[in-house]
Amino acid sequence: MMSFTRIPRKTWSNWLGVAPFLAFCLAFEIVPVLLLLSGSFSDKQGAFSLGNYAKISAPIYVRSFWNSIQISAITAILGAILGLLIGYAIFRLPSPRVREALIALSDVTTNFAGAPLAFAFIVILGSNGVVTLAFEKYFALKLYPAFSIYSYSGLVLAYLYFQLPLMILLIIPAFAGLRREWWESAHNLGANTFQYWRRIALPILTPSLIAGIVLLFANAFGAYATAWTLGGSNITLATIQIAFTITGEVLHDPGAGDALAVVSLLIMGVCIAIYQFANSRARRWAR
């Protein structure tokens, strides 16, 4: 950009144009989060205290975090591996129209999280769901009670529904970034398909893969509506515990809620930071 060719700007007054939006963000995003942070370090009288963090070391909270981390990690890794394979299958489809249609499908379905999705899974995999019945009828396989859509495994299945298409959307551009010349050079220099994937394609895809995994992790960690609709209080997740402190259904301890929220923010922040870093690595290669 050749900014010297332009009239020097009155930068100061131009910043005023951004002010209303900044004020809005301060009022409804930054300040509330900062107050949450300071609240988590205060006792009821407003003095500095680590009491809230001591409270959330109670087994129920530790377990809910552990559950959240587990389910996020499982669905992120499963989603990433399956997304990688299916994404590649879609990317290599001979027909561009089918490929476009599948990308569009992924795009729509990844936004189908929440209550309606959870209910749709109850319809197919509930104790009287179509798929449950079909398994019983055609494979003589009783899914229940070993499996239940209201349980942990059911939650994994429902989360994968929005994780998988998200990974596909993230990884297809990365496949498109693999230049044909790299495969041809490698092949020309004597490498076989396996050597090409191991030494060139996978290392180049790794940053995108990592970016995908952490984004999926964060996506699952912050989710609430799906788990709430499916499991209610059966499955205890970090987000569900935070919501409880608001709705006061189980216990009402604002301080603990603040501390839970701050720990969640910390985990999300780490994810976003890794995501940004991995993404910038991926972009540096994709010139």
Partner: protein
């Protein structure tokens, strides 16, 4: 039998014939360029030699062996692509070593070879750098080193310089030729830049629409174009349309031009007389002792550095002539001038 041979090779893409009945023989150690306009099938030909495309008909032999169905990773051809073909996740050393590593050479030999190759392309000190830390020209030199590291039997280059700027392009093409001569490696070079092809090749193959128009040394291609296409594509040539009078004369409008008429052309058949601008002299007054004199009015005077190119309207036909830049002052726009050229500077061919 030549070292590398393509016999009646054809390649179709759907209904498009990218390469038609292609015959080429390359001697061991020779530098051959494929030259032609965009889409004429140069890349396709090169990729068939490398094994990335299967010919629909014909055969390829290398060193006496039929390689038509040998897969690319077993052919022993080293290929350099137009741009960006270095592996971005590996540093220069690993890029150059790649071909040797995947074929299981011992580490010590690989290190030795990498050093040798980097010295050859004069980039000894870049071994630890990554491709994105190199300039375009450096990247292409590393790509060359990488292709040569596997001691290929044939080196294939597909417009390796076209993504670079003019100065680097000229320097690097000299470098490529130096290395090629040093190693004595058989090379097929694809380009659409005629100057590039003429300046570094032993032989040039001019292609058009999947067919070979002419094969020959750079001098032959330039001085004796065999087809109108070659004449028009290589350099600038004036094309004077006329009718054959006898074995030494062609009628151009009212004027009889002296020119050697090849035996294939009969009397009163249509012909075209080709004359390069540098063979034409310009006179301010009618010359008395010259052959082939044309009369006309100056339309354009273009300064081209060492020479000045003058465009003259000769009875409706535009003829361009070159003169030393120092003579420029003698002529002005719309001036009436005379052009002359010797009969042996003319080439006559049929006008279909």
């Amino acid at each position: 039998m030549a070292y590398l041979e393509l016999q009646n090779v054809s390649k179709l893409f759907g209904a498009v014939a990218a390469v038609k009945d292609f015959n080429l023989a390359v001697e061991k150690g020779a530098f051959v360029s494929l030259l032609g306009p965009s889409g004429c099938g140069k890349t396709t030909t090169l990729r068939m030699i490398a094994g990335f495309e299967m010919p629909d008909a014909g055969a390829l032999t290398l060193d006496g062996m039929d390689i038509t169905s040998v897969p690319p990773n077993k052919r022993g051809t080293g290929m350099v692509f137009q741009a960006y073909a270095l592996f971005p996740n590996m540093n220069v050393r690993d890029n150059v070593a790649f071909g040797l590593e995947v074929t299981g050479h011992p580490k010590q030999e690989i290190d030795e070879r990498v050093r040798e190759m980097l010295a050859l392309v004069r980039l000894d000190d870049t071994a630890k750098r990554f491709p994105h830390q190199l300039s375009g020209g450096q990247q292409q030199r590393i790509a060359l080193a990488r292709a040569l590291a596997i001691r290929p039997r044939v080196l294939l280059l597909d417009e390796p310089l076209s993504a670079l700027d003019a100065v680097v392009r000229v320097a690097l093409r000299g470098e490529i030729r130096r290395i090629q001569l040093e190693l004595g490696i058989t090379t097929v070079y694809v380009t659409h830049d005629q100057e590039e092809a003429l300046s570094i090749s032993d032989r040039v193959v001019v292609m058009n629409q999947g067919l070979i128009e002419q094969t020959g040394s750079p001098e032959e291609i330039y001085r004796q174009p065999q087809t109108r296409f070659v004449a028009a594509f290589i350099g600038t040539a004036n094309q004077l349309n006329g009718v054959v009078v006898d074995r030494t004369q062609v009628r151009f409008g009212e004027i009889l031009l002296r020119a050697p008429v090849p035996s294939g052309l009969n009397e009163s058949s249509k012909a075209v007389v080709l004359v390069r601008p540098e063979s034409i002299a310009i006179h301010a007054a009618a010359p008395t002792d010259a052959h082939n004199v044309l009369e006309g009015t100056i339309q354009t005077i273009t300064f081209l550095g060492p020479i000045t190119r003058v465009g003259v309207d000769v009875g409706g036909t535009r003829v361009v002539a070159d003169m030393a830049a120092s003579n420029r002052a003698a002529f002005t726009h719309t001036q009436h001038v005379w052009l002359s050229f010797p009969p042996d500077a003319c080439q006559v061919m049929a006008n279909q």
